[in-house]
Symmetry: C2
Subunit: 327 residues, 2 copies
């Protein structure tokens, strides 16, 4: 018989004997809460209590059958086993259920004059190279060249210099570099730095719509739901500077056929941009592109760290969450 | 650009345009419901709607942070990746959260005079050999020999013959056969058949308490929760016969130190048995054991298929679930 550490059981130590016997549909939830209440991490205890409550309510409300429960566990197992170093199927599942956008909205309340955040998605990597302004992020000869010009300011309109601007987009086929098995280094991604006027500019390709990876269990789920896997054309931006709230966002191309049915719910009107043409010969010469090169422009507004933290505290307090995980 | 099947999108086909743009903490849930309502499988649609509602409420109630969300996704990924042909970590997770026992209780309502069901657990296999009554299920020389004698009757007290009785238990070290990497076939499991009087009997070993596998992510979770991983001593039974509701249950040894703190919440008073001694020399001779051999006896009562189905319908109706998955 294995050694039994019964004498060190915390529920006995605490002088609060718990009896987990004869549990039924009606009393099991409270008893699971009771045994989990032994956890000394208050935040974990709170999140787990709410998780168990919702999970149990879900089973009770749907009168979940053993066969359905097993189907769900096998689905989740497959989601986990589809994950690799360069593919995160659980993030994808969270994305298509709207959870990712929701958590982003909760964690990044934005004052009215600041740039809205949106979903990070599963394709950000840490391979992007720091590149001087004016450099190119894409080596795809089939992409339509696009000049990107931006600025970064604070909520009072003052330029912010030294912001790291991490940018990534797909190639013209709708695939990120990490989705190509035979790739020999990063492509479609780079990191720029804003100058003294808060400005940055680079050469890219016009973003295209693409389907999220749909050859795994999340793709199968979408098919069963009669949902398409497409995301509208967009370019990702991650802006970072000490003293400011990190901004994870994306710019969407106006008029994309999937603008209103993004498979991962990421589109916001304030992040939709017109892609125009450079046109002006002087501007074309200044940036070293042809006048008929596509042009995307955007002025980002970052929120100070303190302001963002205060906003998060206020929103949690409004929502009545006393045990939110706040600084 | 990849081919865009936008013209065949079901939401457009249905003449019910959905706009998934500018989604916020407050409106995202209804919009995810709206896009998922395209699913033609009514039961899946219902379960998914409740799943999304609970998942989103959980995030809102806890003001879940991006870091916590990522921790949860990484945990679930690890749970999936810990699963193998002979280990199901997601069932284990469901077990320690009380979900398995809850689903079993929902799916197997039991009339007062029938044997209660309990959790199947992750160690049932399809390798057990059909064995004549009187045979032995254990080859473990270190186990304490135990004679098991049982009967199977219906709810009116009539014996049921021809019931397949699938039995499994750990060895004396607390491990199921599949947990030994070097095993050369099934051990600690066999299938018996009830005779004309509803009787069956076999030789086994006295069950011992054992920890559920705790070297994976579920074990880590239990440690963080300050919970022990032990299950009280028990023997599993799965009884099957056409025309009767399949009975998945287990018998627990009275007085086990973990009787009231089972890590997976499976113990029910009606399933606790005294393990006595054979004592009577005539009985010992009849069953070919020594008089001081341990003895476990139990009379199982199975529910007819029709009665079980009607009970399930009544319980779902009481619970107000119109869309339960019922025959």
């Amino acid at each position: 018989m294995p050694t039994s550490p019964v004498s060190t059981m915390s529920n006995e130590q605490s002088g609060n004997p718990i009896s987990l016997k004869d549990l039924t549909i009606d009393n099991i939830t409270d008893n699971v809460h009771a045994i989990n209440a032994q956890c000394s991490d208050e935040r974990l205890r709170f999140i787990l209590e709410r998780t168990v409550a919702h999970l149990h309510d879900l089973a009770r409300e749907t009168r979940l059958t053993t066969a359905e429960w097993m189907t769900a566990l096998q689905f989740l197992t497959k989601v986990g086993q589809t994950c690799t170093d360069v593919r995160q199927e659980f993030i994808l599942l969270s994305d298509v259920l709207g959870l990712s956008l929701l958590v982003d909205s909760i964690d990044h309340p934005t004052p009215p004059n600041a740039t809205e955040s949106t979903v990070l998605g599963p394709f950000h990597t840490h391979e992007a190279q720091e590149t001087p302004n004016g450099g190119s992020i894409s080596q795809d000869p089939n992409g339509e060249p696009c000049l990107v010009i931006g600025t970064v300011k604070d909520t009072l309109g003052r330029p912010i210099d030294g912001v790291k601007i991490d940018v990534w987009e797909t190639d013209s086929g709708g695939f990120y570099d990490v989705q190509h098995a035979d790739r020999d280094g990063p492509d479609g991604r780079a990191i720029f730095t804003s100058d003294a006027r808060g400005g940055f500019w680079f050469k890219a390709i016009v973003p295209v719509p693409y389907p999220i990876p749909n050859d795994g269990p999340v793709g199968e789920l979408l098919k069963k739901l009669n949902r398409h896997p497409w995301r509208p054309s967009h370019m990702h931006f991650l802006l970072e500077k000490p003293g400011f709230e990190t901004l994870v966002t994306a710019l969407y191309r106006r008029g994309d056929p999937y603008e209103k049915t993004d498979a991962v719910f990421g589109v916001k009107e304030s992040l939709i941009v017109d892609i125009t043409k450079v046109s002006d010969p002087a501007m074309a010469e200044k940036y070293g592109v042809s006048p008929d090169c596509a042009l995307m422009q955007y002025d980002f507004v970052m929120v100070g760290k303190e302001e963002a933290t205060q906003l998060r505290v206020d929103k949690a307090s409004e929502a009545g969450v006393a045990r939110a995980n706040l600084p």
